[in-house]
């Protein structure tokens, strides 16, 4: 087996209150994610799913253990290797769509012509050709999230972290965007870590669903989704889909009831 692209080794994350015991958000997490895999992360509310992503994004360092990307330990954001998409689009309101997408390149002082060209390509990939000059407030929620996805992709990172990216969108929009995400994924072959509350979304999109327990978050199940690709909406009412969803639900149900 080849070396995993993202390796999480014995990661524990505590949030101390001034040195006191505090809260343990994640405990002894071990995960190997091979290149090109689409992984959904689910778990009961407050189980540390988002904390796990912020560790891989390099936004914080674990209390113990380590996270590696491509063999290199992550201690700070590595924007060229890891692209991040948050629950809210978090676009800069004074920048047009194309400037928002080009923003990560601007931070790296890529020449203007070059970064606008890259941003235009990403907007086209996410179905926003023709909306380059719009300001965020002139875009719908779904379109803003597309801009955020384009921004996450613009540096061509190997890993894409998505923290409930469709949670604030309506059902139809999230289904359309889910299919488009799969389309983009099949074209770019990124490694995707996708945190979600929706079991449907988790199973429908992913090759593999990692289930975390209630706090402190531990990996309680690691489900291979053996549905064929490309995924079709009809599969969501199939027997296999239902079985997978049910298996995940059993873990979460107990945790949420506590």
């Amino acid at each position: 087996m080849t070396r995993p692209l993202v390796a999480i080794r014995g990661v524990t994350q505590r949030f101390g209150v001034d040195g006191a015991a505090g809260v343990t958000a994640l405990e002894a997490i071990d995960l190997d994610i091979p290149d090109g895999q689409f992984v959904s992360v689910v778990g009961p509310s407050g189980c540390g799913k988002s904390t796990l992503l912020s560790l891989i994004a390099g936004l914080r360092t674990p209390s113990s253990g380590a996270v590696f990307c491509d063999g290199e330990p992550i201690t700070a954001p590595m924007p060229r290797k890891v692209g991040v998409i948050f629950q809210e689009a978090n676009l800069l309101p004074w920048l047009s769509a194309i400037d928002n997408v080009a923003f990560p390149l601007k931070l790296r002082r890529v020449p203007k012509a070059e970064r606008l060209e890259a941003a235009a390509r990403m907007l086209e990939l996410t179905g926003l050709a023709g909306f380059e000059t719009r300001l965020p407030h002139q875009l719908s929620g779904g379109m803003k999230q597309r801009v955020a996805i384009a921004r996450g992709l613009v540096q061509n990172p190997a890993v894409l972290l998505m923290d409930e990216p469709f949670a604030s969108l309506d059902e139809q929009t999230r289904m359309v965007l889910g299919d488009e995400l799969l389309h983009i994924w099949s074209e770019t072959r990124k490694t995707v870590l996708f945190v979600t509350h929706s079991l449907n979304e988790a199973v429908y999109l992913a090759d593999r669903v990692v289930v975390l327990s209630a706090r402190p978050g531990r990996v309680v199940d690691d489900v291979a989704v053996d549905l064929p690709r490309p995924r079709r909406f009809a599969m969501t009412s199939g027997e296999r889909f239902g079985m997978l969803k049910d298996r995940i639900w059993q873990h979460i149900k107990h945790a949420e009831r506590r």
């Binding site: 994004a57 978090n90 931070l107």
Partner: protein
């Protein structure tokens, strides 16, 4: 013009017309409110005197403006950025805001004399705290999510300030300028009215003691002109930074 604009124009005309006609009709005593034309007439007749009072007034306003907006906005940004400083200083500043600072003006005159220094000192103190509080409110309203996103994409601390915090606080800076400027104008005019040897406020008071109502109102018209100009400039600026508002 849109119907709305026509309506606004009609309203302004009605107010000016009432100012002219009501005193003439004897509805309002002329000593209280002289007709608009008499006030403007006094302005034209005594134009030397009024124009002569403007340089002092403008200098006092400009110096106080720089002190208040420069100091208040900078300090507001610093206090707003630090939760500890906010907790320590804000309650104090809010109570200080409630003090009617005009009681300090006699003290300012003793300290700084009858000249421009006491006007600048008073106007600066008068406008400083509200301006600072507006600036603080602007900084604290900034969403940390944008800075966090920039960090995830590799922004250094300096880049976060330059590309995110600073542009995001532009609207609150303009709001602070708007409030600070308006209060500085009030502060300078009031100080001049209470004790001065020169300036627009001084002229208004002098004409009042002579019971020369048209002269008083001529001064008032000039003050309105100054505040109106300030307001128009700041509105322009506000439109320029409208895109920086977080919504």
């Amino acid at each position: 013009m849109t119907p709305l604009r026509w309506g606004q124009a009609a309203l302004y005309l009605a107010i000016l017309g009432a100012w002219e006609l009501l005193p003439r009709a004897g509805v309002v005593p002329r000593l209280f409110v002289p007709p608009l034309s008499e006030a403007l007439g006094a302005l034209v007749t005594d134009r030397r005197e009024y124009l002569g009072s403007l340089p002092t007034t403008f200098v006092e306003i400009l110096v106080s403006y720089v002190i208040v907006c420069g100091g208040g906005i900078l300090l507001g940004q610093l206090i707003g950025a630090s939760p500890a400083a906010r907790r320590m200083l804000l309650p104090m500043l809010r109570s200080a805001y409630a003090v009617p600072l005009v009681v300090l003006y006699p003290v300012m005159m003793v300290w700084f004399g009858l000249g421009s220094e006491s006007k600048i000192a008073f106007a600066s103190i008068y406008a400083f705290i509200p301006t600072l509080l507006t600036a603080v409110a602007g900084v604290t309203a900034l969403s940390p999510a944008l800075a966090e996103t920039a960090r995830a994409f590799g922004a250094t601390r300096a880049q976060q300030i330059l590309y995110v915090s600073l542009p995001a606080s532009l609207p609150s800076i303009v709001a602070a300028l708007q409030l600070g400027g308006a209060l500085v104008i009030v502060g300078v005019i009031v100080a001049q009215m209470l004790g001065a040897a020169d300036g627009l406020g001084y002229l208004i008071t002098r004409h009042r003691t002579l019971l020369n109502s048209p002269g008083v109102y001529a001064g008032i018209v000039l003050v309105l002109g100054i505040t109106g100009m300030h307001e128009i400039l700041l509105r322009r600026l506000e439109q320029q930074v409208a895109a920086y508002r977080q919504s």
